[in-house]
């Protein structure tokens, strides 16, 4: 991945090119199909038109048949040949045969037709020709039988007409193709415009601008833009965590370290051993606070980072609560505090990051230990639509007007207290938000104060 990213964009051809190629293919195949159809149509149209002329001429000749005694007389009308002259360059051949296949009049090069086909192909004077055959039945006392009239013509005019029709059709196809290409060019351009807009938006962006992309885009690339925005948002949040960590660290750590140094100097300069011991005790307490503060700062940063980078997995909150209690007991080895734990029988599963949840829980316990009164109970319960993981104590809790603000950093006080850096609830709040839940503070009875996380249930785990 890294090497790819270093190489930069990998080009897999241009969209316009792909669209162009598919369009050209479609047009070429369509054009070819239409051309073949036009050629077939042109041929059949020309064939039909000129076949009609042939039949017309043959019918006129057949209509001019008379009988003189038992002899067939043909009085060819000039109009029959005028009809054939409509194919101005084509040779004409004709013949009339009596019932015994003898030539009555016309070209003796012709053979009496076999079968009853109205049209047939042949050749005349070395050129391909098309023939029409009309049979007239004569029923007279002196003559009983069929007289066959055959009229043929070479096929130059047909060819020319077929070519002309095909040519015209091709010109129309070409024109339509050009129009379609033009329209397609416009369509591709307009379809790709949002991409270019996106590009412009990014190009004009300052290096520190991590706000979401705000460009009107069509449905097809909306998801791309949404993914992009999520990605930008993640980077933004992580950057912000980093900035916060640095800011908090510099703000929160500078004062206690300075105080430590001052006290250490004081201890160094104090001659009285008793006094020195008292100062060292103070130094010890302060350094413990400082360590806790550092823990909290780093935890806070870690949790916010994890919220963006760790996938949520089904977690049983009872396990989380037990873990938190266990870890608390370890850290606070010397404490004589007793922690109660109130867990339901059935599993309380939600999608979550166990580590973050344990950390949040530990912070709640810390807070209760610091500000509340025992007994302190860690509880997990089913809140209907949500699952609750929290801590209950018997103290007064915080004043009600601070509840709304409780989740933000350093809300309670600024600076460092003996026991907390004021980041506890803000970590809890961040964890709750990372789990698409919320932190809730309440006082169900006068002597009871609860802070807990409401987390959405894992749907798959529901019975």
């Amino acid at each position: 991945m890294k090497s790819r990213a270093q190489r930069g964009t990998r080009l897999t051809g241009s969209l316009s090119f792909r669209l162009g190629v598919s369009l050209v293919l479609v047009l070429a195949i369509g054009g070819l199909a239409v051309s073949l159809a036009a050629y077939a149509y042109g041929r059949s149209a020309a064939q039909k038109s000129y076949d009609r002329l042939l039949v017309g001429a043959a019918t006129q000749i057949a209509g001019s048949l008379r009988l003189r005694g038992d002899e067939v007389i043909v009085d060819i009308p000039v109009s029959a040949f005028d009809l054939l002259s409509l194919a101005p360059r084509d040779r004409v051949v004709y013949a009339v045969f009596d019932d015994r296949g003898r030539l009555v009049t016309g070209y003796d090069s012709e053979e009496p037709p076999e079968g009853d086909d109205q049209f047939f192909s042949g050749s005349f004077a070395g050129e391909p020709a098309r023939y029409a055959h009309v049979r007239r039945q004569i029923a007279e006392r002196s003559f009983l039988g069929a007289v066959d009239v055959v009229v043929g013509q070479t096929i130059e005019a047909r060819r020319e007409l077929a070519q002309q029709i095909t040519r015209n059709a091709l010109v129309a196809v070409a024109a339509v193709g050009l129009v379609i290409s033009g329209l397609a060019f416009l369509a591709v351009n307009s379809a790709l415009r949002p991409l270019r807009q996106l590009e412009r938006d990014f190009a004009l962006r300052s290096s520190r601008d991590l706000t979401p992309v705000d460009v009107e885009v069509p449905q097809e690339i909306a998801s791309l833009v949404a993914a992009l925005n999520r990605f930008i948002g993640r980077i933004d949040r992580q950057l912000r965590v980093m900035r916060t960590l640095i800011a908090d660290a510099s703000h929160q750590l500078r004062t206690p370290i300075a105080a430590l140094r001052a006290q250490a100097e004081l201890a160094y300069e104090t001659p009285d051993a008793q006094e020195q011991l008292r100062i060292v005790e103070k130094i010890h307490e302060r350094s413990r606070n400082l360590s806790q503060l550092t823990d909290q700062l780093l935890n806070h940063a870690m949790i916010i980072h994890r919220a963006d980078s760790v996938d949520l997995e089904p977690v049983d909150l009872r396990v989380v609560a037990s873990e938190a209690v266990g870890q608390f007991d370890q850290t606070l080895s010397g404490a004589e505090l007793e922690l109660r734990i109130d867990l339901p029988e059935e599993p309380m599963v939600c999608d979550g990051d166990a580590l973050s949840l344990v950390e949040a829980c530990k912070n709640l316990i810390n807070n209760a230990v610091a500000y509340g009164k025992p007994p302190i109970t860690v509880f997990v319960q089913d809140g209907g639509a949500t699952l609750c993981l929290g801590v209950r104590d018997r103290g007064d809790g915080m004043a009600k007007d601070m509840w709304a603000d409780a989740g933000s950093r350093f809300a309670k006080r600024s600076g460092v207290s003996a026991a907390s850096a004021g980041l506890g609830l803000s970590i809890v709040n961040a964890v709750a938000q990372a789990h698409r839940g919320q932190m809730t503070i309440r006082r169900p009875t006068d002597d009871c104060f609860e802070v807990f996380l409401e987390l959405p249930k894992n749907r798959g785990a529901e019975p």
Binding site: I73, V74, D75, I76, P77, V78, A80, F81, D82, L84, S85, P88, R89, D90, R91, V92, V93, V104, T105, G106, Y107, F124, A125, G126, E127
Partner: protein, 362 residues
């Protein structure tokens, strides 16, 4: 450079089964020319020699052997050459354009395409195989000395009117071609039959008045000149005008009702030995020089102000002039039954002329 005259006039009577022969033969151009062009035509040598002289007098010109044929014989000999695949004539020019058309239709002609042929109108160019090279009218000829101007027939109606009275002095003194002997006569008569109902009245008037059907333009015009005939109908204008140039008594009239226009048809036979030379000659005939030579031989006649006064038509050319176009319709007149019936109709009008000359020029 006077051409050496080798005119050979053949007597053809009673030679029905014999091999047809030309009526006259003449050669033009240098005797030692490398290439020789054999042209067969129905045109009188006198009418056609000017254009051949000009063509052969050009530098490096070929020699032209010209054979003058009767139109039906020319058709027969060309057709049989074609069927046998013989190298015979290099060019065939005939006033019987229907026969020429049939030769081309049956595949006996070779196409020739050039700038000159492209310029021809469609009626004078079929498939680039048959070309109309002249412009001649079918006219009424009379002798100015014998007919006063009030009697001059200006149309077919006038002619019918002249023949109508039983005591008409024109009885037996009107002549026209014998259509059985003259291919051109048949073509004109058949075209007349297509053109108008006048033809029925006309042939009936001819029959009643004992008109004469005989052979050959020259003989008919001779008859008009010497007073044997007062009027000749459907005579080829080129011959009449040529005679009128020598004998001012002869006058040719283009009928006002309609005038047939004939373009003598040239084709290059399929088996011609010198098709390129023939094409060059054809292009020359269609060129300005060739056309002006044909005009001075009266083979191209103008009906507008440039032409003879008697040929000017009152109507515009489109309504009066009926060009005999090179279209497949020409084949109808050649149909065995059609021809038999048409000649039978003709014979019923001119019963006594069948024994006259079998074959003749126009």
């Amino acid at each position: 450079m006077k051409p050496i005259c080798l005119a050979l006039v053949m007597m053809l009577a009673g030679a029905a089964m014999a091999q047809p022969l030309p009526e006259a033969v003449e050669s033009y151009g240098p005797a030692d020319a490398e290439r020789r062009l054999l042209v067969r035509g129905t045109t009188d040598i006198a009418r056609f020699e000017a254009v051949m002289q000009i063509f052969t007098s050009r530098p490096d010109a070929a020699r032209i052997d010209y054979e003058q044929w009767a139109s039906n014989d020319l058709f027969q000999v060309t057709l049989s050459d074609c069927q046998k695949g013989m190298q015979a004539a290099d060019m065939v020019i005939s006033s019987a354009v229907d026969l020429q058309f049939k030769l081309a239709n049956d595949g006996c002609a070779r196409a020739h395409r050039s700038a000159a042929t492209e310029g021809l109108p469609q009626v004078a160019n079929w498939r680039e195989e048959v070309f109309g090279i002249t412009r001649e009218l079918a006219v009424i000829v009379y002798n100015k000395r014998l007919i006063d101007s009030a009697e001059v027939p200006l149309s077919r109606f006038d002619l019918i009117d002249l023949l109508r009275p039983d005591d008409s002095r024109f009885r037996g003194r009107v002549a026209t071609y014998d259509i059985e002997a003259s291919g051109l006569g048949y073509l004109f008569a058949f075209a007349d039959a297509q053109q108008a109902t006048t033809f029925g009245s006309l042939i009936e008037a001819f029959g009643r008045s004992g008109a004469v059907a005989t052979c050959c333009s020259d003989e008919i015009i001779d008859g008009v000149a010497d007073g044997t005939y007062l009027i000749a109908y459907n005579v080829l204008g080129s011959y009449a005008l040529a005679r009128a140039a020598q004998n001012p008594d002869i006058v040719a009239v283009a009928p006002e009702d309609y005038t047939l226009v004939l373009a003598r048809a040239a084709l290059i036979p399929r088996h011609a030995a010198e098709p390129e030379l023939a094409g060059a000659f054809l292009d020359f005939l269609l060129s300005e020089a060739g056309q002006s030579a044909l005009t001075s031989s009266h083979l191209i006649v103008s009906t507008d102000d440039g032409g003879p006064a008697s040929l000017r038509l009152p109507e515009s050319a489109e309504t009066s002039l009926r060009p005999i176009a090179l279209t497949p319709s020409l084949l109808v007149g050649l149909d065995q039954h059609k021809r038999r019936d048409f000649i039978a109709l003709w014979r019923s009008t001119f019963p006594n002329e069948s024994d006259d000359a079998k074959a003749a020029p126009e």
